[in-house]
């Protein structure tokens, strides 16, 4: 299967701190990939490099054959680990903005996701709770038919009901031909949706493989492998 993302010798330093150390990683099209690791392991740095929010110190990133650029930003649907929507916006403004910037944005899908999330277009972003903001951001991300979905900690800090709703929305709205990259340290809640997993610790890739094969080889689930590595 063709690679959608190819990373060679990627290093990212923040002054003297090495966040990612010379990593090589190929990710295939049409898979849901879990990037797993504790806080500070380098997951978010990797995601930000892919989305063009950070710039590499060394190495090469290719997404659909292109280095991070306006083109790669147009094919990536990115859910950051925080609410980035402008505070003056209503939900309707956010939807219109995504429609203006992304040709692959599906307004009908956005409306049906909003209904599922119990959100209304007239609501103001600044008046939403943390969970509601997370749902709104997820709605905007999943309403696109993007080549690559990147979600940074999509279920962190939300209540169990919202967590289930978010997971259901991700599973139901996943595009078969797309690639979905999800970072999390809440492995137990998400492991069943991953086709592949990549364990990152101290800026290096510790283990990578097909989720089912790893379960069979080690005779334990992904959550226990995570605890074995980072425990």
């Amino acid at each position: 299967m063709e690679n959608i993302i190819e990373i060679k010798g990627l290093t990212k330093k923040y002054n003297r701190t090495i966040a990612l150390n010379n990593i090589d990683l190929d990710l295939k099209k049409g898979k849901i990939i879990g990037i797993l690791g504790p806080n500070g392991s380098g997951k978010t740095t990797l995601i930000k490099l892919l989305t063009g929010l950070l710039h590499e110190t060394k190495g090469v990133i290719k997404i659909d054959g292109h280095i991070p650029s306006v083109y790669t930003k147009s094919i990536i649907s990115y859910l950051p680990d925080r609410n980035a929507l402008y505070s003056w916006m209503k939900i309707d403004d956010a939807i219109k903005m995504f429609m203006d910037f992304y040709e692959d944005f599906d307004e009908k899908k956005a409306d049906s996701l909003l209904e599922f999330m119990k959100l209304d277009r007239t609501m103001k972003v600044s008046e939403l709770s943390k969970g509601m903001k997370e749902k709104l951001n997820l709605t905007l991300v999943l309403a696109r038919k993007a080549k690559v979905y990147i979600m940074d900690e999509p279920i962190a800090g939300v209540d169990p009901v919202a967590r289930d709703q978010i997971l259901k929305a991700i599973i139901d709205n996943y595009e078969e031909n797309s690639t979905m990259i999800i970072t999390t340290h809440l492995v137990k809640d998400m492991e069943n949706i991953f086709d592949e997993v990549v364990f990152i610790g101290d800026g290096e890739i510790i283990l990578q493989g097909d989720a089912e094969t790893l379960r069979e080889d080690k005779k334990i689930n992904i959550d226990d492998i995570y605890k074995e590595i980072f425990g």
Binding site: Y14, K48, T51, G52, L53, L54, H55, V70, Y71, K73, S74, I76, Y78, P80, R82, N83, A84, L85, Y86, S87, W88, D93, M97, D100, F101, Y102
Partner: protein, 281 residues
Amino acid sequence: MFKYTKYEFLGTYKFLMGAIGLIIVASTAIQMFFKNQYNFANGSPGSIEAFQIMPFVMLAATFTFIGAFIAVAVYLISSFRKELYEDRGYLTFALPMTGSQLLGSKLIIALFWSVVMGIVVLVYNMVLARFVFGPEWYNLMLDVIKQAEGLGKIIVSYSLISVIETVVTLLLVYFTITISRVSIKSKKIGGFWFVLFLILSSFFSYIQSSIADSVPLYLDITKMEFLSQNRLYFDNMNPESMMNLANAGVISISGLGFQIILTVGLFLGTAYMLEKKIDLV
């Protein structure tokens, strides 16, 4: 580019319309205050004594004008800084647009509001004064203005020069904020940009005046003719010319050339850093 310009406008218009509203209220209050003072001290309005109060009205209006521009400038500058230091940058910088498109949008909206603010304050104060203080001073002022040579060209040239000055200043602000963000990641010492702005602003002014002095070629926009430094000096010594605002429509060609090069350089440099160097840590 205009996609983002639309959202930049939507994000700023409430504050700026509010600011314009406040200026209108303040201008009205100032003029009414002076009218009441005048009535109390001198008797009926419309007599020649009314002109004595006008300098104070003008001064108060000028302070309102400057205050309003500072408020707008602070707001627009902080809006740019927020993109680089706050969570909203995660949306802005993930959007598929170039650094030039982002910077261009910010610049267009900042310039738009500066121009709107300037026109509203000026026109509103003139119209209000016409009603508050009566038509005499207003008509006299119009007569004085009408006597100025090439008035239309002077207004156009001043407006153009003001726009260029505003663009250069805004770009220098954006440039120094961006370079501060690239070199110093911490928000705590993010005020470093202002120090850098003052240094670069002085440096570029010095370079501009040096260039203008070493290549003393001027253009009189009112007559569309080139002037040498000697001719400019001669005109300034001519009392009649001074009465006719001899220097009002005169610009230094080399100085203007430097400003245009500076504008392009600052734009390209800032756009490059926004696209290739900003790390949202």
